[in-house]
């Protein structure tokens, strides 16, 4: 036992364990067959919620997919520099001004889902009640987001809301920090809706007019009061939180649902007030002009005369490589790793069909049949084979199966200041709106038929005690009931619980919690005493010596 050995042992003692572990684990984890290989993607947070679902479903099916929700421009850049295998985006390379798309890698756009940008807000009426039925015309929205309307009491907002005047508070415009495809989409809408204001505004703020505005970082003074957040999640959280009062922002509709943020009813070309439910998105996008490479021009969507149209809708894409194809000059070559193509094609096939089933529930709209078929065509291009023909038998996309989408809820009457009677003194308190809420709910119930009513009832029974989040009172709960009923009837039994939950919330009277609490059913007993004991011990360990030392040193100080 020499000192040298002991030294060697000492120095290596820690590394040895780790070093030995590594190769063993590598050996253990290396799959026996090459395919399917891991694939990595990154990009759009607009499609982030859908991706979360698809990725986890894909993983369950044994497809090792990974998606990092950052932003469309970042996804495209990473795709262009080959650091990821695919990218998620809602705008094209050219529209986002991302270089490298024309690089040797090549690309194709594969549509994956239809979505919409919601206008979220956090406003109180003069009585101090939370407003959750705000209506905004397209032009008002455009003016707000260009700083042209700076107060909630502005006449344009009052007019949109049937004379309900909001308090004289400055509007805080919330925007995405950094580059974002959602910003690109939304400001494209703003530009097309109010071009005569947009021109001077863009010039004043040194924002581009030719390409899309994908970041507002350079012109933070584009509106009098602005605030930037770092991602779709934070925007929704920021607006919903108590610090977000008097703010308004744009974000994918799914986040509004996830965080229970109020989103505005937007007036479309037909004069209807709509929210981005699946039917509205679908209706709007019938006017989307798709180019040969499937990239979209949304100008006509904003002015779609269909009364169901939600005007700020757009398709989202997955960007992949593809085998050279004369019809597609951007296709430049297959994935070098066949395992990547294997995983990606299988996963895309899933997205084209089964993946569309739950889209309406989480705030998107399923792809139309022709675009599902385009996904299949894209898969064919990736493999260099003839594409599979999709139909109702081999594809579960609800648009194939023909169930269609139920009519969406109609806009509730304006509340907060006594309906159309103008700005009252706020005498209503909480009782008055409750009546209005009940009325709305009844109306919707009759519209969507008995199926929804049964579903809601069952769910109420099952989850009656769930402290489901309301949105700051009865009003919000009512608001959320609408989409629930709509989607519930569209998708049958599978989403009954989804329809029922808001109903349950209503029956429970609602609460002021803005985030989903942990599901009660999963709160297994067991760790609680352990946690308690650990904390007690820890506190004792920390506080004991301190108190001891303090007492002692004070005593000795005497």
């Amino acid at each position: 036992m020499s000192a040298r050995h002991r030294l060697a042992r000492a120095v290596a003692s820690l590394t040895a364990l780790l070093v030995i572990a590594a190769p063993a684990l590598v050996a253990a984890a290396t799959p026996a067959s090459a395919a399917p290989a891991r694939i990595n993607g990154s990009g759009s947070s607009y499609v982030g919620l859908a991706m979360q679902l698809w990725v986890s479903e894909g993983q369950v099916q044994g497809l090792p997919v990974n998606y990092l929700s950052t932003s469309s421009p970042q996804g495209l850049q990473q795709f262009a520099s080959s650091t990821v295998d695919f990218a998620g985006t809602e705008a094209e390379f050219s529209a986002l001004g991302v270089a490298g798309g024309e690089g040797e890698r090549g690309y194709q756009y594969v549509p994956d889902v239809a979505g919409a940008v919601a206008v979220m807000y956090n406003v109180k009426d003069k009585a101090g009640n939370k407003v959750d039925t705000l209506r905004l015309s397209r032009r008002t929205i455009a003016r707000i987001f260009m700083g042209d309307i700076a107060k909630w009491s502005d006449d344009a907002i009052t007019a949109d809301n049937g004379g309900l005047q909001l308090p004289d508070q400055p509007i805080t415009v919330v925007y995405r920090a950094g580059q974002s495809g959602t910003t690109g989409l939304f400001y494209d809408f703003v530009q097309k809706t109010a071009p005569e204001i947009f021109g001077p505004w863009a010039a004043r703020n040194q924002l581009p007019t030719g390409a899309r505005i994908i970041t507002l970082d350079g012109a933070p003074g584009f509106a009098p009061n602005t605030r930037a957040y770092n991602g779709s999640d934070q925007i929704a959280q920021g607006i919903a939180g108590s610090n977000g009062l008097w703010s308004i922002g744009y974000d994918e509709f799914g986040y509004a649902k996830t965080y229970k943020v109020s989103s505005a009813w937007v007036q479309n070309q037909a004069g209807q007030w709509v929210k981005p439910y699946a039917a509205n998105i679908t209706a709007a996008l019938t006017k989307a002009r798709l180019a040969q490479d499937l990239s979209q021009d949304l100008t006509d969507v904003y002015t779609n005369p269909d009364p169901l149209t939600y005007p700020i809708s757009a398709y989202s894409y997955i960007v992949t490589q593809c085998a050279p194809d004369p019809a597609r000059p951007t296709c430049k070559g297959k994935y070098t790793n066949p395992g990547v193509a294997e995983t990606l094609t299988k996963w895309l096939r899933y997205i084209a069909c089964e993946g569309q089933v739950n889209m309406a529930k989480i705030g998107y709209a399923p792809l139309p049949t022709n675009l599902s078929q385009e996904v299949a065509n894209a898969i064919g291009r990736m493999n260099g084979v003839a594409p599979e023909q999709l139909n109702a038998q081999n594809c579960a996309n609800p648009r194939f199966t023909g169930g269609g989408i139920d009519p969406p809820p109609t806009a509730p009457p304006i509340r907060g200041g006594g309906g159309g009677t103008g700005s009252g003194g706020g005498t209503g308190g909480t009782k008055k709106p409750t009546g209005a809420a009940a009325g709305t709910s009844g109306a919707v119930g009759s519209a969507s038929g008995t199926a929804s009513a049964t579903g809601a009832g069952a769910a109420t029974a099952a989850e009656g005690s769930t402290p489901e989040a309301g949105t700051g009172g009865e009003l919000a709960a009512t608001d959320e009931t609408l989409p629930g009923d709509g989607s519930g009837t569209a998708e049958g039994a599978g989403s009954v619980a989804g329809a029922g939950t808001p109903a349950a919330a209503r029956s429970a009277g609602g609460s002021a919690v803005w985030r989903d609490p942990e599901p009660v059913a999963y709160d297994r007993p067991g760790p609680a005493p352990l946690t308690g004991a650990a904390v007690v011990v820890l506190v004792a360990l920390m506080v004991g010596p301190t108190a001891f030392g303090a007492i002692r040193s004070r005593r000795t100080a005497r």
């Binding site: 996804g75 950094g178 390409a211 970041t215 970082d217 610090n243 010596p545 001891f548 040193s553 100080a557």
Partner: protein
């Protein structure tokens, strides 16, 4: 050659003595030299690469413009990027952190060296070292989830009572989370152990003779500390502060979690907003080569500032009377 050396008369020049190193020594010399040298090479490659790859963006932007421009935009042609907006945030956060942490850290060090019993002192030293070992991520998460909301009333209170100071005034209904002040508080708690341990080290080396002399002259303990310990440890305190400043300047992940990372020179440190160089780099991963080059340039600027701070710290500490044996 030894045979010719005259014995009687002392030679003017010493004889050349060659010790043929053993083979193992030659190997040893080679191995240690090359590992030392390769560390040198490696690190200079990092430095050189930082310089050259910053060159792309700096060449396009111009060094002075880059240093003085606030905005950071790569979506326009030509891109307009500048580091000033980030630097201001970096410095503000670091200064808040240090200003808050230094008094507490120095007093805590005094508590450890001069007020606590031997056993408690050992425990406390361990705990402070422990605090230093906790990854900054955990501080960031803690600040992000817990402290950020807890600090809102504090920010509100400060702005209510000290709003007459320009950068502390907030308008009502503003979001007070995610402010540079909160980031500064979290980073301050993070650098607290550094200041405490450096100050403790120098305080513990204060000459016992002088301390006893002060006490023997009838001074109170505070009198002794004021006349002996604090003057003695002055260099250590300054050095520790600058070391902590260097650390706070480079802090990444906590500020990436806490701040929105929008490069603006915010006029108000209590309101939502702010960006730091490292946090900005962390939240802007996956850019095109030009963006990366710009980020490199920003990182280089930060590195130079951190380097300067650290070097000043080591100079101050080694020049001071107490700092000779202190390792930074």
């Amino acid at each position: 050659m030894d045979a010719e050396t005259p014995v009687a008369s002392p030679p003017r020049r010493p004889r050349v003595v060659v010790d043929e190193p053993a083979r193992v020594d030659r190997v040893f010399d080679a191995v240690t030299f090359w590992s030392g040298f390769s560390v040198l090479v490696l690190l200079s490659i990092v430095g050189l690469f930082l310089l050259t790859s910053s060159g792309d963006s700096l060449g396009q932007t111009g060094l002075w413009t880059f240093l003085t421009r606030v905005e950071w935009r790569t979506d326009v042609q030509p891109a307009r990027i500048g580091v000033l907006g980030l630097l201001v945030g970096t410095v503000v956060v670091a200064v808040i952190a240090v200003v808050l942490a230094v008094p507490v850290g120095v007093l805590a060090a005094l508590f450890i060296t001069d007020y606590s019993s031997a056993r408690l002192r050992r425990v406390l030293i361990g705990l402070v070292d422990l605090l230093a070992a906790i990854p900054s991520l955990l501080f960031g998460v803690w600040g992000f989830v817990l402290l950020s909301n807890q600090m809102v009333p504090v920010s509100r209170w400060i702005s209510d009572h000290f709003g007459w100071i320009p950068f502390l005034a907030t308008e009502p209904n503003r979001d007070l989370t995610g402010s540079m002040f909160i980031a500064g508080v979290v980073v301050g708690i993070m650098v607290l152990p550094i200041i405490t341990s450096v100050a403790r080290e120098v305080f513990s080396q204060a000459p016992p003779g002088e301390k006893e002399a002060a006490l023997a002259l009838g001074s109170t303990r505070w009198g002794m500390i004021r006349t002996v310990v604090l003057p003695y440890g002055k260099g250590g305190i300054v050095g520790g502060t600058m070391l902590a400043l260097g650390r706070a300047l480079g802090e990444t992940i906590a500020v990436a979690l806490l701040l929105p990372q929008v490069p603006l020179v915010s006029k108000n440190i209590l309101e939502y907003g702010g960006a730091t160089v490292s946090g900005f780099i962390a939240t802007h991963s996956g850019g095109d080569p030009f963006t990366v080059s710009g980020l490199m340039a920003a990182g280089l600027v930060l590195f130079i500032i951190t380097l300067g701070t650290n070097m000043m710290a080591s100079v101050v500490v080694s020049r001071s009377r107490s700092g000779v044996g202190v390792e930074l």
